[in-house]
């Protein structure tokens, strides 16, 4: 017999007491009674169909709400609580593998929520079956057979739950890993971010149930199936990301390739909604912007950078790649994507003889702006390195956020307020020619800024290296 995952077993011991197992269905039954009382009130006179539709909605909405507000919280806290309770090192010292730890924690920490999810799914599924059997409501509303709606609902909701819980656990683990103890603030931020994204996903899930087909890479696809398939794929990526993060925590050697691969996938997925040359630009922009995520979550680590530089000096490519930060690898991949997109834009301008000179200029300007955007992101990432090397290394992110607010918000607003529109490209990538000073190409300003930040990093790196404490002291008296 295969043994139970030890982490899952620990959570089963802790989470599934008889009292809790009874409490969950009681609460759900109370909610069903409430819906029943509402459906049968005399004024509405909705009767059976209204009741069954209400139950189906209760099931799917209840599922989503407990995933977002409870499951996300529990999964984010799973490792954070271990770190705060000083048990995380014991887990890391075990001989359990990264995959066992990943799924044991992901499903174990939220096992009680999954129990609630299962009950809500049952409520929703049974209601849909009766609604279809007695009133034909499902096929009338969704224009699809019952089995298809049931599969879409079950697979979509489970994928949605896995995506939310795995993402929030991944964000929280990455964020707390750089500190000695877990912080509730990180958990809350992780949960808020994922809730916002998940609401957008869930809304699209609801909208697409009755909407027109989705056009993706020129194919007309059934909207709901497309959303379900996308949820499944993104949930799988989230679990893979969590597994990779777990490997890092368990000191297993990793190559920094998973995030760039995901960024490329996300770029291609998003590009599917765009037409023509815009698709290439969308893909490049998504890959480029994706670099902010690991940079902000992991934040540049001076020790890791020192290892990287040491390996590069020794010409040890394998070690250098192992210590290369994810954002840097992603940024190199983004460079390739941006160059391809810029070349495509320029090529499109040249090969269109029927196009007017204005359009050719416009495409060339767009290519320049894309390169400028890349350089702005380069500057931002370098600024984060610069902040991390400062004395207040732990406050690096807050410092960096302040700089971003000034560079992207305050400074352009001041320029706009005094009417210096042609100077806007100094601070932001500008897409509209009328707002740009074409005498100076838009790439010049971010390039100069990136070089300036690079010089600042060099200066701070030297000071940082020279200022490191060297404990060569004589032994101090011991207590005995």
């Amino acid at each position: 017999m295969r043994r139970l995952n030890p982490e899952l077993r620990r959570y089963l011991w802790l989470e599934l007491s008889p009292a809790r197992l009874v409490a969950m269905p009681v609460v759900i039954a109370a909610l069903m009674l409430l819906i029943g009382a509402w459906a049968f009130q005399p004024g509405l006179a909705m009767g059976g169909p209204g009741l069954l539709e209400g139950m189906a909605t209760l099931g799917s909405t209840g599922f989503a709400l407990i995933v977002l507000f409870w499951g996300a919280r529990l999964s984010a806290n799973a490792v954070v609580r271990e770190i705060a309770g000083r048990t995380w090192d014991q887990q890391r010292l075990s001989s359990a593998g990264a995959w066992a730890m990943t799924w044991g924690k992901l499903f174990g920490s939220t096992v009680f929520v999954w129990y609630g999810c299962l009950l809500f799914l049952l409520v929703s599924g049974v209601s849909l079956i009766f609604w279809q059997a007695f009133y034909g409501g499902v096929s009338a509303l969704f224009d699809a057979p019952l089995w298809a709606v049931l599969v879409q609902m079950v697979v979509g909701l489970i994928a949605f739950a896995v995506l939310v819980m795995a993402s929030v656990m991944l964000i929280a683990m990455t964020a707390v890993a750089r500190r000695e103890t877990g912080r509730q603030l990180d958990v809350s931020i992780a949960q808020i971010v994922v809730i916002l994204v998940a609401f957008a996903l869930f809304t699209s899930f609801g909208d697409s149930s009755q909407g027109a087909p989705v056009v993706w890479w020129g194919m007309e696809l059934h909207a709901l199936w497309f959303v379900v398939a996308s949820l499944v794929v993104f949930a799988a990526w989230a679990v893979v990301g969590l597994w990779r993060r777990m490997r890092v925590e368990l000191q297993v050697r990793n190559w920094p390739l998973m995030w760039p691969l995901f960024a490329v996938f996300a770029g291609l997925w998003a590009a599917g909604f765009a037409d023509g040359v815009a698709a290439v630009v969308v893909a490049a922009v998504v890959v480029l912007v994706a670099g902010y995520v690991p940079a902000v979550l992991e934040q540049p680590d001076p020790v890791r950078l020192r290892r990287l530089l040491g390996a590069l000096r020794q010409g040890d490519g394998a070690t250098a790649l192992r210590f290369m930060p994810l954002w840097l690898v992603n940024h190199m991949v983004a460079l390739v994507a941006v160059v391809i997109a810029a070349l495509v834009l320029l090529g499109e301008g040249v090969k269109g003889p029927e196009a007017g000179i204005e359009q050719i200029d416009g495409l060339a300007f767009a290519a320049g702006t894309l390169v400028a955007f890349y350089l702005f992101v380069t500057r931002d990432l370098l600024l984060l390195v610069f902040a991390a090397l400062g004395r207040g290394g732990r406050r690096a992110f807050a410092t960096w956020l302040l700089w971003m607010a000034v560079l992207y918000g305050l400074a352009p607003m001041i320029l706009a307020a005094v009417g210096f529109y042609p100077s806007l490209p100094i601070f932001v990538p500008v897409w509209d020619i009328p707002f740009a000073n074409l005498a100076i190409p838009p790439v010049v300003w971010p390039l100069l800024q990136a070089i300036a930040v690079l010089l600042l990093i060099r200066w701070r790196w030297r000071r940082f290296a020279a200022g490191r404490l060297d404990h060569a002291s004589v032994p101090k008296p011991l207590s005995s």
Binding site: R3, P6, E7, R9, R10, W13, L14, G85, R86, T87, W88, D89, Q90, Q91, R92, L93, S94, S95, A96, G97, L250, Q251, V252, R253, D301, P302, V303, R306, R307, G393, F464, G467, R468, L469, D470, H471, A472, S473, V474, P475, K476, P477, L478, S479, S480
Partner: protein, 315 residues
């Protein structure tokens, strides 16, 4: 297996360097730990003891250097090395909501034990650590001494070959410390190799066979504590002062590290009665006013004072 690595060593640390962002915590530390030994890892607060232990346990990755656990690089395959290691952190790392038995079952299962193996391992360690009366109590309700026993039980439930203990006696009363001493000696007798970190020397003296002295992230001494080695420390007592005693002792084959004062000289020499007999014969034959010769058992505090004195440049 690395040919240069002696397989006899339970742990070999080679040129270990560990950096924090603004501090180098370990400066090229190298040593080897004998099997079935109890090594006291001592040094002042901030000496690098915990960092060294965490690197040895493959919890933290060093900037450079390597740690070999029974000949295998701990950082190449940390999960494999953890099967051979037990680690007691200074915070114990217990799940307060779980009972003692469940804490131990969980720890055993996390090391791959299952079914009957898991049950037997838990029963064995409960007996070994005298936890039978506490088996059904939640860990959060235990006293500090009881929690410490449970934490040690967790660390050894999978019968590791090597156990690393970080400040195990911190906060314990004298009776509990005495029991801890007996327990560690028992583990050593079962064939385990132990490294015990502490900045309190008195608790280590009873059971340590070797000492590692750390300071400022550097290893300043690593030696066997008296007894059982090939050389011993001897103290020669004189009836009257002898001006060239140090020179005369140093000239005798086998004698080294001579420290001579007016009426006493301390030095390292081969162990065994035959050497002492020959030594006395030589000295008395050379008219040295010998009043006595005895083996001096150096305690940890003596070794530490000796190290501190030599670091300050005193003879």
């Amino acid at each position: 297996m690395d040919e240069a690595t002696p397989v006899a060593a339970a742990i070999t640390v080679e040129n270990l360097i560990f950096d924090y962002p603004t501090l180098r915590a370990l400066h090229g530390v190298s040593f080897a730990v004998e099997r079935c030994s109890v090594t006291a890892l001592v040094g002042p607060n901030g000496a690098g003891k915990t960092t060294l232990l965490r690197c040895m346990a493959a919890l933290d990755t060093p900037f450079a250097g390597r740690v070999l656990i029974e000949g295998k690089d701990a950082h190449e395959d940390p999960r494999a090395s953890h099967r051979r290691l037990g680690y007691l952190s200074d915070f114990f790392g217990l799940y307060d909501e779980l009972t003692v038995t469940r804490c131990l079952r969980h720890a055993a299962a996390m090391h791959g034990l299952q079914g009957a193996d898991e049950r037997l391992a838990v029963e064995r360690v409960i007996g070994q650590l005298d936890l039978g009366d506490l088996a059904s109590r939640p860990a959060g309700e235990l006293s500090r001494g009881q929690r410490q026993r449970l934490a040690i039980a967790q660390a050894i439930v999978h019968q590791p070959a090597i156990v690393l203990l970080d400040e195990p006696a911190s906060g314990l009363d004298p009776l509990a410390r005495h029991k801890l001493s007996d327990l560690l000696l028992g583990l050593r007798d079962e064939g385990m190799t132990l490294i015990v970190s502490s900045h309190i020397l008195a608790e280590l003296e009873d059971y340590s066979s070797h000492v590692l002295v750390m300071d400022g992230g550097r290893l300043v001494e690593h030696r066997a504590i008296a007894g059982g080695g090939e050389t011993v420390t001897l103290a020669l007592e004189l009836a009257t002062p002898c001006a060239d005693l140090a020179t005369r002792l140093a000239a005798i084959a086998g004698v080294e590290d001579v420290v001579a004062e007016e009426l006493v000289a301390v030095f390292r020499a081969p162990s065994g009665a035959a050497f002492r007999h020959d030594l006395l014969k030589t000295l008395i034959g050379g008219d040295v006013p010998v009043a006595g010769l005895a083996e001096r058992r150096l305690g940890l505090r003596d070794i530490y004072r000796e190290v501190a004195r030599s670091d300050e440049g005193q003879p």
